[in-house]
């Protein structure tokens, strides 16, 4: 009876399927840790003595500085959007998410191109004002430049989480503070920031994970971090054991980040003493404060989305559609890979989330944690783990094939299977979160009603859960899809020979200073991502309106 209670209503089929998926997700990460105890590679001694400190330093500076700046920028913007009304506010409430549509590595080469000696800014200053400033003012390719790029393109994570949190806050809280004679600035620092600390920290830790995951920006700017080092030791030197050791070090940095997050979030959890929560009513801004709010919000939108996009459009115009067929080809590949992988990942996530829902709290928390683990581990690290796993599998396969006398020579490493599996390890958490929050919104009573009407778990799933989950599945699909479209490190390491996505090809062109060619590919990528963001936010808004009516 007790064991039954722990598994609660989970049927054995669902549970076994889930265990299978979870083991597959865990193996690559466990593999890395096990391999740590193997023999060190020939380059490890050198890396440890001369380079490791540098990797740690650079990674930590990038992660912490970006985390902090993005936290302030995101929280400030969320507060302005949540608490005030001014012309353009409705547009900006989703427009400020758009910087996420531009992958940081594309933003990096656009900004570098704009500020370079032959770029539009310096050309303009030279030709119009005969200004020849020292190149050091325009040097973007350093740690400061990287921090700027990360902050301006990744802050929406903090913005999104904080805004969602603030929109659920009670209006009476704000109004009573105002009635108590507090200025809006005091309210922001004394009430809003402490209250939303959890949301800000959560968003900011997402930003930090993205920074650690990033390969494109640091590679392009020539900054050595763990990710670039893993690439170098694997691609440049063919030294897998050294990559494994570096991957473990990178995981250490992740644990530092997670620890800081836990520390900052604190054990405190504020909750309301009333269930009657009226959403915050926005105050209309006039005069100079209106202008200030607009300058701030539009300014961020300008640098985070408009300026780079316009620059890309201009470059694309200069190239006059030279690589149109090529762009279409890569768009098609990206679309197919991203779409197919997203469907597979979502299927896995639905199975896990359905089992989690039917299990006790302990089991479902465990499932959630393992599933989300992959998203906090940098792509390059996962790539190493997946590669090790696939090489082992190939060993087993070839043993079986020779054993049974089959001459099929099936291999998994360096195939699309390997790449898609790696996407699943990394992005399963995103899909799971979408499905899970969908289930939370639906609640349990529909499921239970169906059970008492004589339907089993599986029949209920297909007849009730699945149709009701549709909006959550839609947004989960879009989220995973754009992540895969933009993905760089995993794809670079694990892709089959001669296989390119929009992301890898754009990055390759940009690294080879073929900016015009890169522009077309980048624009297609940004267009897809922006469209997905628009669909997700506006779908949600429509639904909210429907509920209110």
């Amino acid at each position: 009876m007790q064991l039954l209670k722990k598994l609660k209503k989970a049927s054995p089929g669902w549970f076994l399927l889930t265990v299978g998926i979870i083991i597959l997700l865990l193996i690559p990460n466990l593999n890395i840790i096990i391999n740590l105890f193997g023999e060190a590679g020939e380059n490890w001694e050198h890396v440890r003595n001369y380079l490791l400190v540098n990797y740690f330093q650079n990674s930590l500076i990038l992660v912490l500085a970006t985390g902090l700046l993005a936290a302030f920028l995101g929280a400030g913007l969320a507060w302005v959007i949540a608490a005030y009304n001014f012309p353009g506010r409705d547009f900006l409430s989703w427009g400020l998410i758009l910087p996420l549509a531009i992958p940081p590595y594309i933003g990096a080469y656009v900004y570098q191109g704009m500020f370079s000696y032959t770029g539009p800014l310096q050309t303009f200053l030279r030709n119009k004002f005969q200004l020849r400033l020292s190149q050091q003012y325009f040097d973007f390719m350093n740690i400061r430049g990287a921090i700027f790029i990360y902050t301006i393109f990744l802050f929406p994570y903090v913005f999104l989480m904080t805004r969602a949190f603030l929109s659920k806050q009670s209006a009476s809280l704000l109004e009573s503070s105002r009635l108590l004679g507090k200025s809006d600035n005091t309210i922001f620092f004394k009430i809003i920031l402490p209250l939303s600390r959890g949301a800000v920290v959560a968003g900011s830790s997402l930003v930090m994970m993205e920074v650690l995951n990033d390969y494109g920006v640091v590679k392009y700017f020539g900054i050595s971090t763990f990710t670039t080092a893993i690439f170098k030791s694997w691609f440049g030197m063919g030294d897998l054991p050294t990559s494994v050791r570096l991957a473990v070090m990178a995981m250490l940095v992740i644990f530092v980040v997670l620890f800081i997050e836990k520390l900052l979030r604190g054990g405190r959890k504020y909750s309301y003493s009333t269930s009657n929560i009226r959403p915050v009513s926005r105050r209309k801004l006039e005069g100079s404060r209106k202008v200030l709010a607009q300058l701030f919000t539009y300014g961020v939108f300008f640098f985070g989305f408009l300026l780079p996009t316009v620059q890309l459009l201009y470059w694309s115009f200069l190239s006059r559609g030279g690589g149109l067929m090529e762009t279409l080809h890569f768009a098609f590949t990206s679309f197919l890979t991203g779409g197919g992988a997203a469907v597979l990942i979502l299927t896995g996530a639905v199975i896990i989330a359905t089992t989690a829902r039917m299990s006790s709290n302990f089991v479902s928390n465990l499932l959630a944690r393992i599933t989300i683990l992959g998203y906090s581990i940098p792509g390059a690290v996962i790539a190493v783990g997946v590669l090790l796993f696939m090489l082992q599998l190939d060993g087993v396969l070839s043993f079986l094939q020779t054993g049974f006398g089959i001459e099929a020579n099936v291999v998994l490493s360096s195939t699309l299977v390997m790449l898609i599996f790696a996407y699943a390890v990394r992005f399963m958490g995103i899909a799971f979160n979408s499905v899970n929050s969908g289930y939370e919104k639906i609640g349990e009573s529909y499921f239970e009603a169906s059970r008492t009407l004589g339907k089993g778990v599986t029949e209920t799933f297909f007849k009730i859960d699945l149709p009701m989950l549709k909006p959550a599945l839609m947004s989960g699909f879009l989220l995973v899809f754009i992540e895969i479209m933009k993905e760089l490190p995993l794809t670079m390491i694990l892709r089959p020979f001669n296989f390119d996505t929009l992301a890898t090809k754009a990055f390759e062109y940009a690294s080879d200073e073929m900016i015009y060619r890169a522009a077309d590919l980048s624009l297609v990528l940004i267009f897809f991502s922006a469209a997905a963001i628009y669909l997700i936010t506006h779908h949600r808004r429509r639904k909210n309106n429907a509920v209110r009516n």
Binding site: K9, E448, R451, T452, G454, P467
Partner: protein
């Protein structure tokens, strides 16, 4: 006995005290019983245990002479033939009224299914509502459809979880009367849960106070 509960004990969480502690109940066929008590008294939990939505820690539940929980047996909710009307009605929003009611009787042939839906809509006084969707119904109508859906498969037991809590005072009197009439008409064994003793009196139910 249509329902027999013996020494039923249950806790949602091992660290918490038992919410249902050594509970006993016997209900005769055709009887209407009301479990009345404050929130947290475990009355809704007894319903959920009876329906098979929770697994008891110990004790025994028998329905129509068959053990459904206890003695190392546990019969899943879908195999108990127990109908339950949920507090929030839980009408499937993506299905029409007709399909909601027919949900539990899809083993019947199409014609018989249609006839049964019609019969139930007549019973709850909502004839002609087949093609509507739950969001097009008022609160009182939703509840009657939920009742019709629950009664459709002909359950051995009807469980009503706080059936009047979502209705305003005026509607409440009317619905209580109607519900009482329907239950008496078909003679189904019923257990209802309420925090209000007045509900029990109105439904002419045997009252069991829980605390």
């Amino acid at each position: 006995m249509q329902l027999e509960i013996k020494n039923l004990t249950f806790a949602y969480n091992k660290k918490e005290a038992n919410i249902v502690d050594n509970f006993n109940l016997e209900v005769k066929k055709g009887e209407v019983v009301a479990l009345v008590g404050a929130s947290g008294s475990g009355k809704s939990t007894v319903l959920r245990l009876t329906a098979g939505l929770e697994i008891p820690d110990s004790g025994k539940i028998s329905i129509a002479g068959q053990t459904v929980a206890g003695d190392h047996k546990f019969r899943a909710a879908e195999k108990r033939e127990v109908g339950m009307v949920f507090q929030d009605y839980a009408l499937f929003p993506h299905l029409s009224v007709e399909k909601n009611i027919a949900f539990g009787i899809d083993h019947l042939s199409k014609d018989r299914r249609k006839a049964r839906v019609k019969e139930l809509l007549k019973l709850v006084n909502l004839e002609g509502f087949e093609k509507r969707y739950p969001h097009q119904l008022s609160g009182g109508q939703q509840q009657r459809i939920a009742l019709a859906r629950t009664l459709a498969p002909g359950p051995k037991l009807l469980l009503l979880d706080e059936p009047f809590s979502n209705l305003d005072a005026e509607l409440k009197d009317k619905i209580r009367g109607e519900l009482n009439q329907i239950i008496k008409e078909i003679g189904v064994t019923t257990i209802l849960v309420s925090h209000d003793r007045e509900d029990a009196e109105f439904m002419q139910a045997r009252e069991i106070i829980m605390n």
